[in-house]
Subunit: 349 residues, 2 copies
């Protein structure tokens, strides 16, 4: 992640985001709503010039508070909406701050449900000033149908027993760990927060279904033989609503390697109490069986456990026991340590 | 198929097509471009009031030639574009005929790539007159995320070793065959031609990937316990570009039964010479393994072979041999006969 990852659409247009960012916190008083801003400060601090909050906000990321003009002068090129709102709407009382950003020279980047371009005042001002309003939930135009052609370079995909249990953090940690070892690595983002962190990517679950695998091919193009794309996984092959997203991403990614992600203690699909999670072994087997279609050499290089709900000792015991049981490197990438180094060894093996 | 199948969106809005149809043939001279019109006459003759062709057309479906006004007087409620064009565009010299249809009281139904609503003259006239321009490639708005909840009624899905080898014709034939036996059956269309034949449906491959399974749930709602939805399959679980579509459709359909469709002699994925087709047994196994997620009782009730490229004797020999080999009913539904009746027996067993 030494340089921003970039994805090019088939016409060669750069679909990367304008950056670095001024993080917009609105008038948020609940840290849970600012996960995007915190994620960016954690994973892409070099792309975060400062933060901007409205009167009444109590949340802060701890980086300098700047006006839009100050941020632009320091190099910022986009105001990034770093908070969510209940319902995903853009509140009316944010608009004047967003207009100020456009006037100060900044584009606006949003991952909210509501689209920036659907707000007439913003759309008109952006057009007049030549600024961009970028909704990262909107996939690029002209995604091709997948070809299935084997591409050059290595690819690693994170897959999971469920949604929302650490596939993005595992991929980011692995990309950073490999980069720290001097490997030629690109993190490939497939969800909105990942895209903001990476500076580019494709929101794979927003792609029309005929084009999912094609979008994954577009996201991870040919690369030098030793280059590793570390691809953020989505959904789960065992999810009653989202398995199709996971399969299209698996087929188009053509991963040589995958890391199976799980949260210890989670027994059922989040929000679907009638659906038991698969075991880690079932996840590995299914991923190999289905992934072989586009890459016969696919293999599991390790298991990522999200142990954020456990104390250090319990986490270490579990990691060691699971590694013995499965015969694979097992680690919590966010905790790091020797177990994670063994997982990285396997990625380079 | 005694009455038009209907699909309701979550708000209870009927997403069925206006019908019966006046089939529009344009100025087509190549029968291959009129497959939609021929398919409608074959499968939904009661919904085809007449045909309309422009000067120069040499193709005819054999049903009465009517003007738009005559067709409306006989009950037609939509002009249906029954021909394709190279590139999928709507030629400029068709427009005045389409405007005439709107003025005569007809809506317009199209499955072409170009959208009716993108032609300003048509859009303006339709709005002025209160007519609908219906592009069947456009899925309904407000498709819900799949719930995975088991629905009442029986469901049968056709699945295939590849695209374009008879899944739609198999589903239509099975629906008609079961209806002929007095069963309570609805054909559920998932592609544009199927939607025109059925009078409603959802173009599943045009649905945003997060919503594929949800679209399939919406398409095949709760029904009486003995009712059978016969669902048109799409793509193939073994297709490097479209497997995600097939998986989402499988999960959302929750089929109790499936029919495995194959074209004898086809060895590779159409247009993907690097990808061998699976065997019929592999297709059956994969469908059961993956389908079990949302319906643990899924079972294969037979195999449909598209023997259109073979003579009668060769087809019968192959059908008998495959039935012996697989221990399942095997038939070419389009040819019918005792083998097909055995397949229908199994669907009702």
């Amino acid at each position: 992640m030494a340089e921003p990852s970039r994805a090019l659409d088939p016409q060669g247009q750069d679909v990367g985001l304008p950056q670095p960012y001024l993080l917009f916190l609105g008038d948020t008083v609940e840290p849970g709503y600012a996960k995007t801003a915190f994620g960016l400060c954690d994973w892409a601090p070099d792309r975060c010039i400062g933060e901007l909050a409205l009167p009444g906000a109590t949340v802060s990321t701890g980086i300098p508070r700047l006006s839009c003009r100050e941020a632009y002068a320091k190099g910022a090129r986009a105001l990034l909406i770093g908070v969510a709102t209940p319902g995903g709407a853009i509140p009316h009382h944010w608009i004047s701050a967003l207009l100020d950003a456009l006037k100060a020279g900044l584009d606006i980047v949003s991952g909210m449900h509501a689209r920036l371009n659907d707000i007439p005042q913003l759309a008109a001002t952006a057009e007049m000033l030549g600024r961009r309003l970028i909704d990262v939930r909107v996939p690029p135009a002209r995604i091709p149908i997948a070809t299935g052609r084997k591409r050059c370079g290595k690819r690693l995909l994170t897959v999971g027993t469920d949604c929302a249990l650490g596939k993005k953090y595992a991929a980011l940690s692995i990309a950073r760990g490999l980069e720290g070892r001097g490997a030629d690595v690109t993190f490939r983002a497939t969800g909105q927060t990942g895209i903001m962190i990476a500076g580019s990517g494709i929101p794979i679950d927003a792609v029309v279904s005929d084009f999912i695998a094609g979008a994954a091919e577009m996201l991870t193009p040919d690369a030098p033989p030793d280059h590793i794309d570390v691809i953020e996984g989505q959904g789960s092959l065992f999810h009653p609503a989202y398995a199709a997203v996971s399969l299209g991403l698996l087929h188009g990614s053509q991963p040589d390697m995958f890391v199976a992600c799980h949260e210890p203690g989670r027994t059922h699909v989040l929000g679907y109490s009638g659906f038991q999670l698969p075991s880690i072994e079932e996840l590995i087997l299914q991923t190999v069986v289905l992934g072989k279609l586009t890459n016969p050499d696919i293999r599991c290089v390790g298991v990522s456990l999200n142990t954020s709900g456990m104390n250090v000792e319990a986490a270490q015991r579990l990691i060691a026991a699971e590694s013995d049981r499965l015969g694979l490197p097992v680690a919590d990438p966010v905790r790091g340590g020797p177990a994670f180094e063994r997982l990285l060894d396997r990625c380079q093996g």
